[in-house]
């Protein structure tokens, strides 16, 4: 301990110690350094994004004018592109879009993922379960751009045709629905894998206890196993929503990049915080460039708040007292 706190004394102290103690303190120092390093990078990134992101609100942006923070947070239009040269940027509708899409995607992927997990963990014969587990792990490791390609090649066509069947002209299939489907596909493996682990770790004794009471296997699976695994299932939802909120590449290929909103109709084009940040990032300068860092701050805050809320609910749900 001393060797870390008082560097000056450490030489004298360590000389007296035997070899094992020296190794011990060196290793401890190593841990400390790596921890400080990794933590400081996160803090550095946050500081950097914040400094860049604050620029549009505090400077006059080379004569275009200051961006009003209230309009930015609550407005319904994103006037973008160097051609417009305006300070009318707002993300209010984009925040709603983002949460709306993530929510819908989870509505699809949660039930499917949890039921798949239940099937793999409790119903499927061993060999099939083993096979499915590998498939799910593979799916989880597919890069997001591949999902994006699948989305623009297959899902867009599907959504376009579906919209046409309802006599709606969709913009090439770019829509809320396409984005939701892509995100549902992307979050599915994560949710399945994590739920499966938590379902599998439910004690055999609880399962037997239920069966011995004359409950059927199905009753046991739904009433006892899923309730016992709910904390792990909730954790999978938190990770799933994290991915749904944070995914940029695949989303920007199918969202359609709406400039106003919010887009609530399922065939409307839409935009998310991430797709807005990504769109045209390489071709723009000045305020149009800086404002994307502001969106980055908003995205971090949205994810932080969502996680806090979900963790709060998780703690409540995990506790039987509230029932």
């Amino acid at each position: 301990m001393n060797s870390i706190k008082h560097k000056g004394d450490s030489i004298i102290l360590t000389q007296k110690k035997n070899k094992k103690e020296i190794i011990d303190s060196v290793v401890r120092l190593l841990f400390l350094i790596t921890t400080i390093l990794s933590a400081s990078f996160i803090i550095l990134i946050i500081i950097f994004i914040s400094i860049k992101g604050i620029v549009p609100f505090v400077t006059d942006n080379n004569g275009i004018g200051r961006v009003d923070i209230i309009t930015f947070l609550t407005g319904r239009v994103w006037l973008t592109g160097t051609a417009f040269q305006s300070n009318l940027y707002s993300v209010g509708f984009i925040i709603i879009n983002t949460l709306y899409i993530a929510f819908l995607a989870l509505m699809i992927s949660m039930p499917i993922g949890v039921l798949t997990a239940l099937f793999i963990a409790k119903v499927a014969p061993k060999k099939i379960a083993e096979f499915l587990r590998t498939v799910v792990e593979l799916l989880a490791s597919i890069p997001s751009i591949v999902y994006g390609l699948f989305g623009s090649g297959v899902i867009l066509v599907f959504v376009y045709n579906l919209a046409e069947a309802f006599n709606i002209q969709s913009k090439g299939g770019n829509s809320v629905m396409a984005t939701v489907l892509v995100l549902a596909l992307m979050t599915l493996p994560t949710i399945t894998a994590i739920s499966e682990v938590s379902i599998r770790s439910v004690g055999k004794d609880i399962e037997l206890g239920s069966l011995a009471l004359g409950a059927t296997k199905t009753q046991t699976n739904f009433k006892v196993i899923l309730t016992s695994a709910k904390s792990g299932i909730f954790a999978s939802a938190i990770l799933g929503i994290g991915r749904a909120l944070g995914e940029a590449t695949a989303v920007s290929l199918v969202a359609g990049n709406a400039k106003s909103g919010p887009s609530l109709g399922i065939f409307d084009i839409t935009s998310t915080l991430t797709s807005t940040m990504l769109e045209g990032l390489k071709e723009t300068t000045g305020i149009d460039y800086d404002i994307r860092f502001s969106v980055g701050i908003i995205l971090m805050i949205v994810i932080l708040i969502t996680n806090l809320i979900l963790n709060f609910i998780k703690r409540k749900v995990g506790n039987v007292d509230v029932k």
Partner: protein, 251 residues
Amino acid sequence: MKNILKIMNLNLYYDEFQALKDINIDIENNKVTALIGPSGCGKSTFLKCLNRMNDLIEICSIFGEIEYKEENIYKPNYDVINLRTKVGMVFQKPNPFPMSIFDNVAYGPRCQGIKEKKRLEEIVISSLKSAALYEEVKDRMKKSALSLSGGQQQRLCIARAIAMEPEVILMDEPTSSLDPIATLRIEELINELKKKYTIIIVTHSMQQAARISDNTAFFLMGELIEFNKTDKIFTTPLQQKTEDYITGRFG
């Protein structure tokens, strides 16, 4: 009907290994039957045959007959679910579900389709009373069952079994993970319960068997060595092996 369960020529195999050899026992109504014997002698395996919990072990195959109320429970198309509601089970380690105390007891009746709140409440309260737990938990029925002590959890598991209105309760070393005081309470409870239920209990403790049971069966290496009134077994055993075991020469 004096004997609620009749076990005839029961043989049980785990793959090639024969765990039970030609067991014949009649279980008397409203009596406590204790199964004793050293570890691995097949007494728990035997117990699990009685509510067909061994069905869940894939490598397990069973031959012979077990008659519950004069019907062979191993005959094809026998209603196993119904059997398990009539032949309840309490496990070695207390295994309450991670739900509230109320929901734990109401679980079985709910699975049988009882939804009416008032009826469920009646069942839960009377079951908890029968399991001598009601007074301790009546103010915290909505609290998690996992907040109870080990002994309370085991009594909750007994209440859970009673809620099904069974006729037989199987107990697989129900006190082996409990302290002496909690053990004593469970034993008192068993004494009380035998007025209404037939109880079959596996136990490692010969003192426990002597204290609470009416009949005792001694198992060794998958065979039933001796089955008799408990006082006979512990005072004048007929078999040398029984005497060796109860006097502590092995086991």
